[in-house]
């Protein structure tokens, strides 16, 4: 046992030495690390974060050094990956999926001088900030378009996990569509994954077979968009402009634009003004953008959508404005009342009119 301990000690010393060398070499460059849940090639969520990394490279050139690790499972491996990035002298680390929350907090405790940025989580610390996009705003706008464009009055929705982020997206889509089409119906399929092109395609097929002619997705692959293109129905892209996968099918897409946020935060990390914050940016802040409208959308529908978009940007319109009832009929927003961010970020019920029940 003793000799084993000694061996470890020697190995540790050697590693510390090697590490010291590494830091000395890169002292003048700020190292920025990214952890992705999917492959960069998902053309959705992780792809878009990677665009942020590329934007950083463009902005800061050789003043920074970037590292990314893709397909890191939200299980036991996450902590090691994050810790290795911290240990290798990364000054600021972006962990870009909800499941990295506890591992990020754990590692952050050990590395008080490293800044951590966790996307979509709710736990913060002195050196852990959180950030997320108000994607529900874009879904509301897309819902308006879908409500007008559908011939079958049926929207198909591919959902991932019944977390507030996803539930508020479903509700916002429904409310948007309902505001222009009182007969709208929504069919929802839960696929229990963020990225699985096979499952997503199956769900998209099932929805199309059940008469849905506009598909929404809260999953990350372009598979549903491809299926919509094949079937000659509409779809709304997720996280990234998916026009390449559905040149005719894509009505619009929600585009996550992390670039300005990433550039600002890395600059703050470089000049020492970084502070732990909780940023929830939407259309107004530019963290969320709408892809170019499909040319086949009639001008009056475009007008409606743009009015909603501009209303949300100016603050006049909030997708969740009372009177609103829950699915079971209880009132949760009085007439004219706007939902608080706190209530919104814990939303765990469907609004009145959405059929089915949340998976338990």
């Amino acid at each position: 046992m003793k000799s084993l301990g000694l061996k470890f000690a020697i190995a540790g010393a050697a590693a510390a030495f090697a590490l010291g060398m590494g830091i000395a070499q890169a002292a003048d460059k700020t190292k920025v690390g990214f952890v992705y849940v999917g492959p960069i090639g998902d053309h959705g969520w992780s792809y878009q974060h990677h665009q942020g990394l590329l934007a950083l490279k463009k902005e800061f050139g050789d003043k920074i050094e970037t590292t990314h690790v893709e397909k890191v499972s939200e299980g036991p491996d996450a902590e090691r990956v994050i810790r290795q990035l911290a240990q290798q002298g990364h000054k600021i680390i972006f962990t870009t999926s909800f499941g990295y929350m506890n591992p990020t907090i754990k590692v952050a405790k050990r590395f008080p001088n490293v800044y951590f940025e966790h996307a979509t989580g709710f736990k913060r610390a002195k050196n852990v900030a959180t950030y997320n996009g108000r994607f529900y705003q874009g879904r509301y706008v897309a819902g308006i378009i879908a409500g007008k464009m559908t011939k079958t009055n049926t929207i198909g929705y591919i959902a991932s996990f019944p977390i507030p982020e996803v539930v508020m997206g479903i509700n916002a889509t429904y409310l948007g569509a309902k505001s222009v089409n009182p007969n709208i119906k929504m069919k929802i399929i839960w696929v229990s994954t963020w990225f699985d092109p096979g499952k997503e395609t199956d769900a998209a097929k099932a929805l199309a077979d059940q008469g849905a002619d506009v598909l929404f997705q809260h999953t990350d692959s372009p598979a549903p968009m491809k299926l919509a293109e094949q079937r000659g129905i509409w779809a709304v892209g997720q996280a990234s402009d998916m026009k390449a996968f559905g040149p005719n099918a894509q009505l619009t897409a929600l585009i996550d634009d992390w670039n300005p946020y990433y550039i600002r935060r890395v600059r703050e990390a470089m000049n020492g003004t970084w502070k732990s914050t909780d940023v929830w940016g939407g259309l107004k802040e530019g963290m969320l953008k709408m892809a170019a409208w499909n040319k086949k959308i009639p001008a009056d529908v475009v007008k409606l959508a743009e009015a909603a978009r501009d209303g949300i940007i100016s603050g006049k319109l909030h997708p969740f404005t009372g009177p609103l009832k829950k699915q079971d009929g209880t009132l949760f927003l009085k007439a004219g009342e706007k939902i608080s961010d706190k209530a919104l970020s814990a939303m765990n019920f469907y609004v009145e009119g959405v059929e089915g029940s949340l998976p338990k």
Partner: protein, 366 residues
């Protein structure tokens, strides 16, 4: 040019040499792969197979990663030796985590020396229960255990998902599908301070020792060997095939369950839907790479853990695609199975053009 000829007896030399040959061929193919990807193959290979051995932290992570692989592999080897194909260790792992994790949550904030053992026992029982299903189906209905055990993997992971979305969900977690973090008394004691290496590794070593002793000295070990190598002889000797099915499934399920609860209360510290990451399947490679021998499994478990840790390091340092490591592990199993032929067969230069009298029907000699 060459002829493949059966050996009179399996070659002991080849039995031990083929895993090494398989590793060498994998590394060689890795060279080709990295070169094709436009990466420096020497650097990549060193990063994967050598770099993790040079720092204390990555050595400790090697132990974290190898623990479940060795535990599961040791159990699976018993099954495979008896020609019983438990492919569902991943599900037994998951159910161990579910049962043990549920016990930990049930005992939330409870202190006492008995907390940890109760959680471990619950985990082992969870794995055994899940393994008992294919064992029962095979013994009672002669159902193919490959299919039943594999299908139950998906049932287990869905069950985990249902529970963390509902019953076991963190009440303060804003509806996110995770359990609360286990309290300290429920967590695995740490073996090396400042790391995640926990006492589960010691248990894994113990499992290696016990399964080795069992196969060597205990009568059931003998029965397992005979049942695997000469099923008819086993029947003539009056060994109960059903008993062997029960025994191997329950032991391997129990060990996989332990691995699951160790993982949940060790490195993860809570129940999350993404808890099963494929250890149960990788352990199949571990068992075969280790020649179904406990000591071999120990080494193979460490080697596979090395490819995980090293692969991650290479991904960080060289931006290698994440799929590289899966390709590596796949190649390892492929080469192992391919080179297995040398154990029972040998290559001999074929005789010259004169057609051998034994094969008059073949139109060409070669």
């Amino acid at each position: 040019m060459f002829r493949i000829e059966p050996r009179k007896e399996p070659s002991t030399l080849m039995l031990y040499a083929t895993p090494l040959i398989a590793v060498a061929l994998t590394i060689l193919s890795g060279f080709v792969l990295f070169t094709l990807l436009g990466k420096d193959p020497v650097r990549a290979t060193l990063l994967i197979f050598y770099k993790p051995l040079t720092s204390f932290y990555s050595l400790s992570e090697l132990i974290v990663k190898a623990t479940p692989l060795i535990l599961i592999g040791a159990g699976l080897a018993l099954c495979f030796r008896a020609n019983i194909w438990n492919i569902g260790a991943e599900g037994q792992f998951t159910m161990g985590a579910v049962a043990g994790g549920a016990m930990a949550l049930f005992l939330f904030e409870v202190e006492g020396f008995w907390v940890l053992p109760s959680i471990w026992i619950a985990g082992a029982l969870g794995g055994m229960l899940w393994a008992a299903i294919p064992a029962l189906l095979r013994n009672r209905f002669n159902a193919n255990e490959i299919l039943t055990s594999l299908m139950l993997v998906y049932v287990a992971s869905l069950l985990l998902s249902v529970l963390v979305h509902g019953l076991l969900r963190d009440p303060q977690g804003q509806n996110f599908p995770e359990s609360r973090l286990f309290h300290d008394a429920a967590l695995m004691p740490i073996l090396l301070p400042g790391t995640r290496a926990h006492v589960g590794f010691a248990v894994a070593l113990l499992a290696v020792l016990l399964t080795w002793a069992l196969m060597r000295w205990h009568v059931i070990g003998f029965q397992i060997k005979v049942a695997g190598q000469a099923p008819r002889a086993a029947r003539f000797a009056g060994f109960s095939g059903k008993k062997i099915v029960w025994f191997t499934f329950l032991v391997s399920g129990g060990l996989a369950g332990l691995a699951g609860v160790f993982e949940a209360t060790g490195p993860v510290g809570q129940l999350v839907p993404a808890l099963p990451v494929g250890y149960g399947f990788t352990a199949i490679i571990v068992a075969f790479l280790g020649r179904l021998h406990p000591v071999g499994i120990l080494l193979a478990g460490l080697l596979l853990a090395l490819t995980y840790i090293g692969g991650e390091g290479a991904q960080i340092a060289m931006s290698l695609p994440a799929a590289t490591i899966q390709v590596f592990q796949g190649m390892l199993l492929f080469y192992l199975l391919a080179t297995d032929i040398f154990v029972n067969y040998r290559f001999r230069p074929a005789p010259m053009k004169t057609a051998p009298p034994s094969t008059p029907a073949s139109p060409t000699a070669q």
